[in-house]
Every structure is written in C-alpha cells, then in structure tokens.
C-alpha cells in the first residue's frame, strides 16, 4: 500500500536540503511557541488532565452524544448525514452537489476530507474545488499533499513558495511572506464570491447545543462557511464533546499547543444555517459524521488515540518528524500520532514501518495536551506486527537469544564480558568499530559502533557501592 517504501522515503527526506532547512525553521518555532504558551497558563499539568478527562467523558458516551448532537443540529435547521467509510462521505457530498447544481466549491482546511480523498472525487465529477487556507492553497497549486496537521506546507521554504506563485500565477518574485500572502488574498477573493458551496472540517462538535466549532487564523474558514449558499461540515465521529465547559478548556489548549496562541484569531461557533431573520450566512447546512474505522478503534485497546485533538504538537516535538518531515509517513496523518492512526485506520500491514519510526523518547507524550500515551501504543502496535508474523527468522532468533540472556544474571554477565572483549579487540578508530558483519551492519551502515568501556558499568557500580559502604563504617 505504501507508495514509496518508508526506508526510501526517509533517505529522500534526509537528502533533501530544502526540506531540512524548512523543518529546522518550522519545528523549532513550533516547539518554542507551545512551550511559552502552555507555560504561562494557570496550571499546565492540571489543565492537560482536565482536557484529557473531557475527551474521555466524550468517548465513553459517544453514541448518546452523537444522537444528542444530531437532534440539536436538526432543531437548529440543519441536516445530518452519516458515512460508514470514505466513499460514502464523498458520495454524500456529490449528491448534495448534484441536488444544488454546484460547480464551484471552496474548502477550508479539513484533515477528514484528506482522509477520504474528497478533492479527487469532486474533480472526477467535473466540480471545481479550491483550498482556501493559504498553505493548503499553495500545496494544491504545487500538486502536493499536506505534510503537517496544522502547517500543511511546513516542508516548503519561503523561497520555493515564491517560485511556485511566480510560475503558476505570475506573482513577481519576492522573499517576503507578507507580499506572498497579500497576493494570494487577492486571488482568493473571487473564489469565495463565486463558490456555490463551502466545505469545512470540525474541531469540536458541542452536543448540548448542536454547534460545530472551528478554529482558524486566516479568516478562510469564516469565509468558506459564510459566503457560499451551502455549508457542508465534515467530522470524524470522535469530535463530539458533551459541554461548553469542555469546549473552553479544549479549544484553548488546542490553540496554545498548535500555534502558541492564547486564542486563534477566529473561533467560529456555527449552529445550523442562517435563521430566516438573519441578513447573511448559508441557506443550507449539512453535517456529515464519518466513521471510517473509528468505531473499530473504540473497541480496541487503542481507544485512547481517539482523544487526539489534532494540534500537531507531537509532530513538532518528535526527533523523527523533525528530521524526515510529514511526507515520509506516507499518508494523511504524519508524526507520532500518525504512526498510530495510519495503521489503525488503514490496517497494520499498510504501514508496517511506522510504529518503529520512533525512539520512544516520550517527547510526543510530554507535548500532548490531552496526555495521550503515544509511546505505549507504538509498542503495542509493534507487538501486533510481530504477532501478525511480520519479523524475519533472523530477527525472531535474535530476540529469543536476547530474552534468554536478559532473564539470567549468569548469561547477562557472560554476554557482557564477551561483547566487551570482542568489541575492544576489534575497535580500531578511537574506540569505535567502523564495520560489523551482518546482521549487525544494520547499525554500522549508518554510524560507528562504540566499543564497550572498561571496566564495565557493573564493575564500576559494584566498586562504588563497596567504597560507599566502607566509608560509612
């Protein structure tokens, strides 16, 4: 299923100088902004826990909350549609387009529609779709996919962006993001005004009033959901929350974790279509609720992954993402959370390398505003892969030997002695081994292997413990 094998994608990413520059600039800013914004809250750890409980409460009661949401959306004058999978969601939107004779669609950012491949489905039926978020628009022009949940064009430098806008739209070359942004504003204006239908995602759906909340900075979401005569909002079914109190903590941790803002510029709270006495807003409102594997995840031991609010903090914090970027992950959701969500949504064997794309350092878990234990789930996914028969014979024998050695103090000491003696005997270059025979070349193909130190850690530890107890006497 992987278009490019993961190892190959990693090599390409590491060799891409432009990508490395863009990743360095982007993820560093992202990490610093989040740390500052979370650090200045009333109590960061207590708030994370509060947000976590809000998500847990919602997931525990998903069916009731979705029914309550549906009742309230309808009471507000909207329509609710349900989609079991990606194709059903796309079909719903195509049907709406046919009913209303839609030709031009303007879209605000939505990861769910990336998941269902909606743009291709619409274009295949001759419907014109324009992404309205600045980053999404630019990568749509480039014919690329988003590489970050929040910053879709994180992989692009400003220089490459200017060149693209110059080549595609004739913008005079500049290195000023301000000039590029203003140029795109002008282009997009007409698109909003001519659109027959606007599509948006949903950040939170508040069951008690049938309101969908979207979070944005540019104004493109407000425009896409206010200017065209029809608004279609699409949500994964896990986006529903119970109360406005839960919204308050979640939305603020989302903006602080995603971009380091106390509040994003626009928080749009949309409750159905325009009322008869209102002067503007869409005449029709549709909410489409998508499953696409989520109910299966809820039944599994990975239910926790549904708590994710898609802030992207774990991407910025991850040393693997920082080096390979989003495209290497091969699908819509990159980074540590993507390494979990992708195999869960598409099946473990579609992305067998992703659970290993982590050093399990835990930076993702520390960054997560809803305390998702990402490393733990990555380990469980590795276990699933092993049980599904993924590893090679050599790997299995190796792990068996390792398990024997680590269960017996005698074998452990013996193994350590042998490894220590061997590596020191073979080391040439300042205590490093340049090359090891298979299967150990998996390490030395990429970096030198350090010879074991002498005396060993155990010997030094025992000596130290002895001298301590002697000193006390």
């Amino acid at each position: 299923m992987e278009a490019v094998p993961f190892e190959r994608a990693v090599h390409l990413a590491l060799a891409d100088e432009q990508l490395q520059i863009a990743l360095d600039r982007g993820t560093t800013r992202g990490v610093n902004a989040r740390l500052a914004a979370m650090g200045e809250t009333t109590d960061p750890q207590a708030l994370r826990h509060q947000a976590r409980l809000a998500r847990e409460r919602a997931l525990n009661r998903l069916p009731e909350l979705l029914e309550q949401l549906e009742r309230n959306v309808i009471a507000n004058g909207g329509h609710v549609l349900w989609a079991r999978d990606a194709d059903e969601l796309n079909q719903h939107i195509l049907t709406i387009c046919r009913q209303h004779n839609v030709r031009h669609v303007v879209k605000a950012k939505s990861m769910v529609t990336e998941e269902t491949g909606l743009n291709h489905a619409l274009q295949a039926h001759g419907i014109d779709v324009v992404e309205s978020d600045l980053g999404e628009y630019i990568i749509q022009l480039a014919g690329e996919a988003p590489s970050h949940i929040v910053f879709p064009m994180l992989h692009k430098t400003k220089e490459a962006t200017a060149q693209l806008l110059h080549d595609k739209l004739g913008m005079p070359l500049t290195d000023q993001p301000e000039v590029m942004t203003r140029f795109v504003r002008g282009v997009m204006r007409q698109k909003y005004l001519q659109a027959d239908l606007g599509i948006s995602g949903v950040n939170f759906a508040i069951a008690e009033t049938g309101t969908i909340a979207t979070v944005e900075n540019e104004g493109n979401n407000r425009l896409s959901t206010s200017t065209p005569p029809i608004h279609v909002a699409v949500m994964g079914l896990e986006k529903v929350i119970a109360t406005w109190e839960d919204y308050a903590v979640l939305v603020q941790l989302l903006s602080r974790s995603a971009t380091g803002q106390r509040m994003t510029v626009y928080n749009n709270l949309i409750s159905g279509p325009r009322r008869p006495d209102e002067p503007d807003g869409p005449e029709a409102f549709y909410l489409i609720i998508l499953d696409n594997g989520r109910s299966r995840i809820l039944a599994s031991e990975y239910a926790e992954s549904l708590a994710c609010i898609r802030c992207g903090a774990c991407l910025n914090a991850c040393p693997v993402y920082q080096n390979i970027g989003g495209h290497a992950y091969g699908w819509v959701y990159p980074g540590p959370i993507g390494a979990i969500v992708t195999p869960l949504l598409r099946g473990p064997l579609t992305a067998p390398r992703l659970p290993y794309a982590s050093s399990l350092c835990g930076a993702c878990q520390t960054a997560c505003p809803v305390e998702i234990n990402i490393p733990d789930m990555l380990l469980k996914l590795r276990r699933d892969l092993v049980q599904a028969g993924d590893p090679t014979l050599g790997w299995r024998i190796g792990m068996r030997l390792w398990a024997i050695a680590f269960r017996s103090p005698l074998f452990y000491r013996l193994g350590g002695r042998i490894a220590s003696w061997l590596t020191r005997a073979l080391a040439r270059d300042k205590g490093y081994l340049r090359r090891l025979p298979p299967p150990f070349n998996g390490w030395t193909d990429h970096r030198d292997f350090p010879a074991f130190g002498a005396p060993s850690f155990r010997a030094r530890y025992l000596a130290r413990a002895n001298s301590r107890s002697n000193g006390k006497r």
Partner: protein, 222 residues
C-alpha cells in the same frame, strides 16, 4: 439494507458494551486556562491583549470622542463604502449622520456588494479581557460580513461589556440555557486581525479576513 446511522451507532454501542474504554471520572471542568489576577483592571488588560495580537484599541472618554475616532479611521483609510450593523445594535448614536457628512455610502445586500466596502462597522456582544477577544453573534441587523469581508474592521464597544475570560462568557450563556446558539447561526470569537504562519511559521498579519482591527472602547456614562 441498514442505514449508515444505525450501523455506526450499533458499532459504537457494541464497542462500549463490553467495557467503557476509560474510567468514569466526572470531575467537572473548572479551572480556567488563562491567568488573570483578581485585582487586574479588565479594561487595561483587554487593551494590552488586543495590542499584543496586532489590533488597536482607541479609548474614548465619551460618545463624541468615539465618533471622532471613527471619523479619523474612515478618513485615514479613504473609506467610500461601509457595511454596518443596524444602529440599534451599536453602542453609539450618530453614525448615519457622520457617514453622510463624509459622503460615505452604506452598502447592503449580496456578498459581492459588501466585498466592495472598505470598512465594516460592528458592535460586539461581549469582550474577553484575558485574551483580547471580541464576541460577535449574527442576527437581524447584525450581518456576519461586516466583520469579515472589508479590509478594515471597526468594532464599537463599551467598557461594561468586558468579561474576564472565555469561561465567564460561557457561564453567562449557560444561565440563559445557551439561547444565543439557538438564535444566532454564527457566533464568532475574534482575537486580533486575520493572520497566518503557514510560510515557515513566520507570522503575517492580514490574510483572508480584515487586514486591520480597530476597537473603539467607550467609557460608560457614570
């Protein structure tokens, strides 16, 4: 054939039937997010926060000063067309007269017509001090477009509409059983002027929404 709705709800119920995925913990969400000292002056904090997100606050001692600020802004931006909330929803009288004195047209109607306006003038339901946020609800005489399409957004606000935080606004709505979400199809929380950080996470102000946000903050009559 069963409906997608039934299939999905059944799958969710089956998933939850064996065991809820998380321990039931109904500890209410009570801790507000943004720091705000009880002694803090809400007006000063609001103004400082708005400036932080590149909006501008013009503090007016009275209605006459407020009208002066609006006039100066309209003149400085060479505004010829304005889209505006009905006067009944603004905390300031005398704008129609000011507009005609400046020979500024008041546009209504379609988005295309409103898109020609150089300025939008609105009130606000409430403001939130801790984050420098305006709360605007749509309704009769309160078009959404006025705070969205024109490059200049002027919001008129009296000081007594400033609440401490988002949590306080939502608690006040709870007291009215959230009627605002029944009557307004759109409630927007606006914090600063539109911005993006899409290009290398470098902040740029003025994207698809207004390029500039000016808040004329009017002292309450004593």
């Amino acid at each position: 054939m069963t409906s997608a709705r039934d299939d999905i709800l059944r799958a969710l119920r089956t998933a939850l039937n064996t065991q809820a995925p998380f321990p039931a913990d109904e500890t209410p969400t009570g801790l507000p997010v943004t720091r705000l000292e009880p002694s803090e002056d809400l007006v000063a904090r609001f103004a400082a926060e708005v400036e932080r997100v590149k909006g501008q606050v013009h503090r007016a001692e009275n209605a006459i000063k407020a009208l002066d600020f609006v006039r100066d802004l309209l003149v400085a931006h060479r505004v010829q067309r304005v889209v505006m909330w009905d006067e009944a929803h603004l905390p300031l009288r005398g704008l129609p007269a000011l507009l005609s004195a400046l020979d500024i047209a008041h546009v209504h109607g379609s988005s295309a017509a409103i898109a020609e306006a150089e300025a939008g003038i609105t009130g606000a339901d409430w403001a939130l001090a801790a984050t420098g946020t305006l709360v605007l609800s749509s309704g009769p005489g309160r078009p959404r477009m006025a705070s969205l399409l024109p490059p200049l957004h002027i919001a008129l606000l009296t000081e007594d509409r400033i609440l401490p935080r988002l949590e306080d606004y939502l608690a006040a709505q709870r007291a009215t059983r959230y009627s605002v979400f029944r009557y307004s199809s759109n409630v927007t929380l606006i914090t600063g002027s539109s911005r993006t950080s899409d290009i290398e996470m470098h902040p740029v102000f003025g994207v698809h929404g207004p390029l500039e946000l000016h808040i004329v903050l009017i002292k309450n009559p004593v």
